[in-house]
Amino acid sequence: MKNNPVFRVAAKILFAPIILFGLYVQFHGDFGPGGGFQAGVIIAAAFILHGLVFGLDQGRRLVSARVNLWVMAIGVLIYGGVGVVSLFQGGLFLDYTALTGSVGSGQHIGIILVELGVGVTVTSVMLALFHAFAGFVEDHS
């Protein structure tokens, strides 16, 4: 697919809007359907499209495996970190109201951060799975 101009141009045009839509799904989860799991998958789809069209090497140059491994863990740490911060604020674990002291802002901030953690982990895990599967034969031949 690398040398087909239609795929290359289409992938270049689609890459940014897919990520934008993923971010919309990510941060609009409080008000409509969506959330970290779906957004993570959508954002990963943009990177997978890039990898499919421009080749796995280009995809790995864009997001290196080492960085991706860290990002996987960072997502879980964001989620757990919100719980720990709410502990330090005097509330229970994952009690978002304790984050700011008021229900309105606390719940909003807590849920957005938690969903962000989910999204970050899901994105990087999906990308890692794709790179691992697609790259296995290439690396072992």
Partner: protein, 206 residues
């Protein structure tokens, strides 16, 4: 009425795709049709007003799973192995169909006991659901109940799910990418450095 007709059409489509998946022996066609199966299921979820579930099914089932299966397909031969004639295929088919009919019959029998769709007195709607629906908006100031249940009421569950995704990713990486790492040093670390070294060696030999 239209809703029921749409449901029936989509269910028929599901059965049709399932039969097609069984009939074809080509792995590529099977994977693509499984994506179509997921997309049809997502349409059914939309018709049942479960938009969040439909969204997830469309993104994960029809989107990413298909791509991951296609990527994993490169390990496998493209076509199904032809069944060898020596096996008694008839008795095998007989046993398989008996198991299918019995298991399917049990599922249908169990489904008869389920409350009707949308029944307000169903156990699922009697426990905590009314509290979530009525109070979560005023209590937590978040309009989407699905999100409040997922992230706030059931925050521990979702933390667990995230850790499951993380662990699954780690597991696959250990199985697949770990193998490449042990192989890398003796094969060719990176082409750039190895060629550079080769040139340096040649230069030294001269």
């Amino acid at each position: 009425m239209t809703s029921i007709m749409i449901d029936m059409f989509l269910l028929g489509l599901l059965v049709f795709i399932a039969v097609m998946i069984l009939r074809t022996g080509k792995l590529f066609a099977v994977i693509v049709m499984s994506g179509g199966y997921s997309l049809t299921s997502a349409a059914i979820f939309v018709n049942l007003d479960a938009v969040d579930v439909a969204f997830t099914e469309a993104a994960v089932g029809a989107g990413i799973s298909t791509v991951l299966f296609l990527a994993a397909m490169s390990f496998l031969p493209a076509e199904e192995k032809a069944a060898s004639k020596s096996d008694s295929t008839f008795s095998r088919t007989l046993i398989a169909s008996i198991v299918c009919v019995v298991a399917g019959g049990l599922l249908v029998f169990a489904a008869l006991d389920l409350p009707a769709f949308g029944n307000p007195n169903a156990p699922a709607h009697m426990h905590v659901a009314p509290r979530y629906l009525e109070e979560s908006g005023a209590l937590l100031h978040i309009p989407n109940v699905v999100t409040t249940v997922l992230a706030s009421y059931r925050g521990f569950d979702t933390l667990g799910e995230t850790i499951v995704v993380f662990t699954a990713g780690l597991g696959v990486l250990m199985l697949l990418a770990g193998a490449t790492r042990t192989r890398r040093p003796d094969a060719a670390q990176s082409t750039a450095t190895s060629t550079a070294r080769g040139k340096a060696k040649k230069g030294a030999a001269k």
